[in-house]
Amino acid sequence: AQRVTQPEKLLSVFKGAPVELKCNYSYSGSPELFWYVQYSRQRLQLLLRHISRESIKGFTADLNKGETSFHLKKPFAQEEDSAMYYCALSDSAGNKLTFGGGTRVLVKP
């Protein structure tokens, strides 16, 4: 069975400080990992996916298969980054996303 763990429920940082959201997964096959974000009063939307290796809104995430991790990082947090962030995994069958419990990020001025 696949599982995604986000150990931090809440991360509070000051504007301009680095932020790192942890995500660990368990899956026996070759997973595809995603970060989805939900800003206040908006719907859940894709932030980035490991396969595209892009930086979106200054965020990056590296898939570490040895540590089964997909941590999300941003060197300088902005107030507009305050949101709920979900790490998610899709199995090789592509039938569903398995979500972590989510991490609420609060960026203080």
Partner: protein, 114 residues
């Protein structure tokens, strides 16, 4: 381009009643998913349609839940009879390819069972 829409946005019903949720995916998206988030818990997969066929319904909690996608367009999720533990937010998402593709989420339906 219109995004995924869901109706209603909120529903408050009494235990034992029936509720039907509707989801309209993005036009042209063959893949449609239902998820739900029960208070304090993570978002959990319910089922996946490819066109009108149920590809994976392993997440459906029990036989009180019935999902349909007649004609391969919009989908409905009926809960009958509703129980207190069914309260939560029900999300619909659609994608062009399968779940390894970007999923576009609807705003969700908040269901409260009293």
């Amino acid at each position: 381009e219109a995004g995924v829409t869901q109706f209603p946005s909120h529903s408050v019903i009494e235990k034992g009643q029936t509720v039907t949720l509707r989801c309209d995916p993005i036009s042209g998206h063959d893949n449609l998913y239902w998820y739900r988030r029960v208070m304090g818990k993570e978002i959990k997969f319910l089922l996946h349609f490819v066109k009108e066929s149920k590809q994976d319904e392993s997440g459906m909690p029990n036989n009180r839940f019935l999902a349909e996608r007649t004609g391969g367009t919009y989908s409905t999720l009926k809960v009958q009879p509703a129980e207190l533990e069914d309260s939560g937010v029900y999300f619909c998402a659609s994608s062009l390819r399968d779940a390894r593709d970007t999923q576009y989420f609807g705003p969700g339906t908040r269901l409260t069972v009293l």
